[in-house]
């Protein structure tokens, strides 16, 4: 047991922090919650790439740094505390790269991985998993990939594709066997799809924050070379299981609203200067202390999950438990923030009297979305119950 960081880890954190502070000073980005959704900045990603911070944990032979997931967690922690604009490479770094390393062909490894770690042009990925009738129950995907010689033809529709409109490639789940006698989870494969290929249409979905991050993606007779299939045909679900753990495991799940939290704390400190003895202040400090405890525990859960991966273990139940916990923490944070800061927190960006330029209001609106990716809290609890506690399915 060691609840401190090594000197090397502290140094690494400081290096990251120094870089980010310099970028902030230079006005490259500003710290505002929602960085992941909005911060699509290839230039910034390139700077990170130059420092070896993309593919940090990947094997060196693929251009990675072979460092630990705990170090990765440190990196993510620092990035998200200031909401650095990492969206360009984030998905490739977090899960596309690792999936290619585990399941990809030599060609895929050679083509994509070096480009990922350099944050090259045209390397932004999106996920083409969910469909109108396949959300939590991904085995229901209806999009088909039909093999015709050296090609697959894709037909179908995807939905809730984050950043689909800005992406160069999509990581697709599609049915490759249409045979009702075969179990559904043994009939799908994964593909890499060029989002500019003929037949791919991206249609925006405006969310209730008023933003465009989600999309519908229509695949109308999209032809792709078989070399874009990833891993074994019909083996998608085995691959996805591993991929999901990475999607869920990260420190970012705790920190998507960190600037809000920081603001709340500072606000309460200020309040304490004039309102000690005030019942409202007592309620606020008690509530925020509870949040602080929850935050610290979330952080330990995240580092524990990272460390589990470093130990070479599958972090399935740790990642599920951690993400469920963090999703709920973030929802409570954003809800409480509006109450601590009061009615003016309902005023949005651009209006006078807004608090923190609408960040508090926006974050309350974003709250329900955290559970939409990587599994709802309910699905994650199922995983803890079935996988860790081995409760019976029937």
């Amino acid at each position: 047991m060691r609840f401190t960081f090594t000197e090397e880890q502290n140094k690494f954190r400081q290096t990251v922090r120094d870089f980010l502070q310099a970028e902030l000073k230079a006005g490259i980005f500003v710290t505002k919650s929602g960085g992941l959704a909005e911060g699509n900045n290839q230039e910034f990603s390139k700077k990170m790439a130059q420092r070896g911070w993309i593919g940090l944990t990947w094997p060196q032979k693929y251009g990675g740094q072979g460092r630990t997931y705990v170090e990765k967690a440190i990196l993510i922690e620092e990035l998200f505390k200031v909401q650095a604009p990492v969206a360009y490479h984030f998905l490739a770094d977090r899960q596309i790269g690792p999936s290619i390393i585990h399941f990809g062909s030599e060609w895929q490894k050679e083509y994509f991985l070096p480009r990922f770690v350099k944050a090259d042009e045209n390397m932004k990925f999106c996920l083409l998993f969910s469909e109108p009738n396949a959300g939590s129950d991904l085995v229901n995907v209806a999009t088909t990939a039909t093999k015709e010689g050296d090609f697959y033809t894709l037909r179908g529709q995807k939905v809730w594709t984050s950043g689909g409109h800005q992406s160069d490639y999509g990581w697709l789940l599609a049915r490759t066997k249409i045979d009702s006698s075969v179990p559904r989870h043994e009939s799908c494969s994964q593909f890499i799809v060029d989002m500019k290929a003929p037949g791919v249409t991206v249609r925006p979905i405006i969310n209730m924050v008023g933003c465009h991050t989600f999309n519908e993606v229509f695949l109308d007779e999209v032809k792709i070379d078989r070399k874009f299939m990833v891993g074994q045909e019909n083996d998608a679900f085995k691959q996805i299981m591993a991929q999901m753990d990475y999607e869920r495991a990260g420190m970012e799940r705790l920190l998507q609203n960190y600037p809000v939290y920081e603001k709340v704390i500072n606000y309460v400190k200020e309040m304490g200067k004039t309102r000690k003895g005030d019942p409202f202040y007592h309620w606020v400090q008690d509530s925020v202390a509870q949040l602080e405890i929850e935050f610290n525990i979330g952080r330990l859960l995240c580092y524990n999950t990272a460390w589990t991966i470093d130990m070479g273990r599958k972090p399935t139940s740790e990642a599920a438990l951690t993400k469920a916990y963090c999703n709920q923490y973030e929802q409570r944070l954003n809800d409480l923030a509006t109450r601590v800061l009061g009615p003016a927190s309902q005023i949005r960006e651009g209006s006078p009297w807004t608090l923190y330029d609408g960040e508090i209001a926006d974050c309350y609106l974003w709250s329900p979305s955290y559970a939409l990716q990587g599994g709802s809290v309910e699905v994650l609890k199922n995983i803890v119950a079935l996988r860790r506690l081995e409760l019976p399915r029937k």
């Binding site: 129950d137 019942p279 209006s351 006078p352 009297w353 209001a361 329900p368 939409l372």
Partner: protein, 376 residues
């Protein structure tokens, strides 16, 4: 104890339900968010013609002397579809203040056009943090000689200020003879009044209003000097209770939407609503609705018969604030992606629940009142 609506109220309810459904389907509500005025004048006229605006006022002012409980029922229906209008700020909050504080002359001048929907009034009682500060208003009124006063300060979250003929405020009057918190009406067109539209969570039309030495005369004073806080505190319970009505209406819609959705949404080969966890979530919303309705009806009903009910009103707002908000959060969880889109209607309620929670005191602040009433 009787828990049924009487026949008359039922009729009013069903006509209100019909009106709101017809006039205020969700595309209309969403359009109104983008609309400059934020409500339909045609509806407004109809609401006046239906007698809604004057429901609780004396017949001599053109009202129908109806029951407060019936008014509550109207707001419950309004909450169901989120029909936007200045009803609450004009014909309730401002109207009741005039009714409470004004002399006969003022009432005769103002109430009839308010009731007929010809005049729109609004309320500027919230300081720059959005808090009601009538007990110690940050707005100042200084004597400027000859029975004139100059009002200075800022009010925010003033609903429909751009169309308001008058804004009623509580200013801290500093006079030679008399001083203290005092109600003024200020013409919406007074010079020195700067109105800025505010973009808020719900998109309801609301404004920041800066009073840059706005001149008013002693005729603009409502009631007695120094009694502003008392008047507002007398009217507030009614406004709070009607806000609870809106919330209960919203909550009932959230329950219906959610139950409908989980019945038709198929996941893992069966309706989402067949999952026990989903069923329990729905039972929780159903419980939030029943309990909110009971506690809010109680407040409305006791106000109606003139029973002292400060505690009951505080209990209603405290409970409804939490229950409605939690229900919208559960509803979001059950709807998944679709509920998070602008296209869907759920967000109207998710946002309304938060704004309604933060308006007129959240659950914590009303629990404080309950504690007070308990003798703590």
């Amino acid at each position: 104890m009787e828990f049924n609506l009487n026949e008359e109220t039922k009729m009013l309810q069903s006509s209100a339900e019909k009106f709101c459904k017809e006039k205020s389907p969700s595309p209309f509500v969403k359009n109104m968010i983008k609309d400059e005025k934020g409500f339909s004048e045609a509806h407004w006229k109809e609401m006046a013609n239906l007698g809604w605006l004057g429901l609780i006022y004396d017949e001599k002012y053109g009202g129908s002397g109806g029951s407060f409980f019936d008014l509550f029922i109207l707001f419950e229906e309004i909450g169901k579809t989120q029909l936007p209008s200045p009803f609450l700020c004009s014909a309730v909050f401002a109207g009741l203040l005039i009714n409470e504080a004004g002399d006969e002359n003022l009432k005769k001048t103002y109430l009839p056009p308010v009731i007929q929907g010809e005049k729109i009034l609004t309320i500027g009682l919230r300081n720059e943090q959005g808090q009601y500060d009538h007990a110690a208003a940050a707005l100042e009124a200084k004597e400027s000689g000859g029975g004139s006063y100059v009002i200075k300060g800022t009010r925010i979250l003033v609903p429909y200020a751009q169309v308001a003929d008058e804004i009623i405020v509580c200013a801290n009057l500093k006079g030679e003879k008399a001083s203290g918190p005092t109600l003024f009406k200020v013409s919406g067109k007074a010079s020195g009044l700067k109105k800025t539209p505010l973009n808020t969570l719900t998109g309801e039309k609301t404004f920041g209003v800066v009073f840059e030495d706005v001149k008013v005369s002693e005729k603009d004073i409502l009631g007695a000097i120094g009694k502003g806080t008392t008047y507002v505190d007398k009217v507030l319970p009614k406004v709070i209770t009607l806000k609870c009505g809106e919330m209960v209406g919203g909550l009932s819609k959230v329950l219906n939407m959610t139950v409908d959705y989980v019945k038709q949404r198929i996941q893992f080969g069966r309706p989402l609503g067949a999952l026990q966890v989903v069923q329990h979530y729905c039972a929780d919303i159903s419980t939030f609705l029943d309990t909110s309705r009971l506690i809010a009806y109680q407040a409305a009903s006791l106000i109606d018969i003139g029973f002292p009910c400060a505690k009951e009103v505080a209990m209603a707002k405290a409970w409804c604030s939490d229950a409605y908000k939690k229900s919208t959060q559960i509803a979001q969880q059950l709807h998944g992606g679709i509920g998070f889109t602008e296209e869907h209607d759920l967000h109207l309620y998710y946002k309304h629940a938060k704004v309604a929670e933060l308006d007129l005191g959240d659950s914590w602040s009303h629990r404080q009142k309950v504690a007070e009433e308990m003798g703590f």
